[in-house]
Amino acid sequence: MNIFCAGINHQTAPVHIREKFSVGSHELGETLAQVRAIDGLGGAVILSTCNRVEFYAASVCPIRGLDGIRQLLRDRTGESNPPFYSHDSPRSVRHLFRVASGLDSMVIGETEILGQIKQAYTMASQHGATTRHLNRLFQHAFRVAKQVRSETQITRGATSVGAVAVDLAGKIFGDLAGRKVMILGAGETSERTARSLVSRGVRTIIVANRTFDRAAALAEEIGGLAVHFDHWHNAFDDVDILICSTAAPHPIVTREKLEPILCARAGRPLFVIDLAVPRDVDPSVNDLENVYLYDMDSLEGIVRQSLDVRGAEIVRCEKIIDLHVMDFITWSRTHADKIR
């Protein structure tokens, strides 16, 4: 019994190609039925995400199965030569285990893909499109992904500026529910960062922007409160997290401005995220007690550090995966099925 996979991903095809092959949930049942109708294929699982479209199938003759899938795709998309890669056992097994572990993702170690694979498998199973070998393969893939996650640091650290900001806020305040955020300058990055914080429980957001209308619009969008830019320090007393991203040519938050405000805060920490270039916050603010200042460079530095840590873990992950591939292939050889 051979497991084979065929597909495209973000490494092999740009988005305008990938979107042609995407299989939406509304057409999944029909597509699975078409794949199962291919001569020599006992079953299939279709994984369709924004970064990849992959077909996994069990077959005694992978070449025939692959030809059938290519023909199906030609009929679906009108592309005469779909730019698909294909693997058969054991490479196909290793490929699925790597995908499930996040090693084949755009951001190495991301965990969303595992949920997507689980969903694809569940859908195929519900449509009766899985076989004993596919069931075993996917259950094994889930186990591998779990082991890789728990025994290595492949998912360690945050990999975007927003995620780093949220992680750091957690390291400073613990629970973010009830924390107050102020946005100075309603830029796109500050908005994204604020949204990330809202997703972690922040309830109160104050937006100050040179153009009040823009502040009001953003405040309405994220359920916050707009204040006039010139009066931002009047609303600052209870703020826990300050996000700055104005287009000011010089620092607008200085040590001299913050010091008197901090005196009234009774030792409460202040997390300052400076996303502006040129910087909005004087670097000496970080020397103030209970103030933690992170600018773009330091946030991106942490992102790079996380990615380096994850990159360095790949070898350990591959070793775990290799052991499981051998394990699965051994099982597969001793449990050969007959296909139509």
């Binding site: 728990s150 025994e151 640091q153 360690r156 650290g157 750091l168 957690g170 390291k171 400073i172 305040f173 613990g174 009774a266 030792g267 920490p269 970080n286 007690e289 209970n290 933690y292 992170y294 330091s298 530095g301 942490i302 550090q305 996380s306 840590v309």
Partner: protein, 261 residues
């Protein structure tokens, strides 16, 4: 001869510390059940050791510096087990186990008086005074541990370094709260112990009384500054570490003065 229970307890505290150090170094640290388990086993073994020596001395086993160090280690672990489970402060065990391990090592290896000075009168109030005062020191020790963790976390956040410690240490705000509460707990216990000592009317060396009152007053000031929020959490953390280090160093002197009666 070192009692077996004590030796085994020391081993478990070393195991807890070594395990955390290894897993942190290998980047595999997870806030699991190993540390609390190792500390709990160590605590049970220490309790058995205290029980054994208490029986032999027919009083609370705090009649020599050796006894005091072991009783204080027991008190530190007791407070850790209560605080650790209440606040779920990850890595606190990793910082507590080396402290306990070092105190036990000093107790067992350093040339300190081991012979228990027999009590002339075994009075419940005096027993209460001595034991509660040492449990208070256990709370101060934990406050120093939480304070040290606070300072480490503060330094890492200020330097913007994302080491394994930053990832595993509890949020700095929670460490500040824990330090403050442990100081309040320690101060309350110390006050209770102090009052019990005064009420018992036991004869006391003036120097010992002065030193104890001094420690009580210093911790009282720190607690007052903390409660009135006049001092930043970072300074409270630094003070709790500094004062406890001084108290630990002066413990042999106080014990010696106690023995003079």
């Amino acid at each position: 001869m070192i009692p077996h229970f004590l030796l085994a307890a020391t081993f478990f505290f070393f195991l807890s510390f070594g395990y955390t150090l290894f897993t942190l170094g290998a980047g595999r640290f997870r806030s699991g059940s190993f540390n609390p388990l190792a500390m709990s086993v160590g605590f049970v073994l220490l309790s058995l050791d205290l029980w054994q020596r208490g029986n032999a001395q027919s009083s609370c086993p705090i009649n020599s510096l050796y006894d005091v160090l072991i009783f204080m280690s027991w008190a530190i672990v007791l407070i850790y087990l209560i605080v650790g489970s209440t606040y779920r402060l990850s890595l606190m065990g990793a910082f507590t186990s080396p402290l306990v391990f070092c105190i036990l090592l000093v107790a067992q290896l350093a040339p300190i008086p081991r012979e228990a000075v027999p009590r002339l009168v075994v009075e419940p109030l005096i027993e209460f005074h001595a034991s509660v005062s040492l449990i208070a020191y256990g709370a101060f020790a934990l406050a120093a541990v939480a304070g040290f963790m606070y300072l480490v976390q503060d330094r890492q956040l200020k330097q913007r370094k994302l080491g394994p410690l930053l990832l595993n240490l509890p949020p700095i705000t929670e460490l500040g709260v824990a330090t403050g509460r442990l100081l309040i707990l320690g101060f309350s216990l110390l006050t209770a112990g102090f009052l019990a000592g005064l009420i018992s009317g036991m004869p006391v060396n003036t120097l010992k009384f002065g030193a104890s009152a001094g420690i009580w007053a210093v911790y009282g000031c720190i607690v007052l500054l903390h409660c009135s929020r006049r001092l930043a959490p970072r300074r409270i953390a630094g003070l709790s570490l500094l004062v406890f280090s001084i108290v630990l160093c002066t413990l042999p002197v106080i014990q010696k003065l106690s023995a003079l009666r």
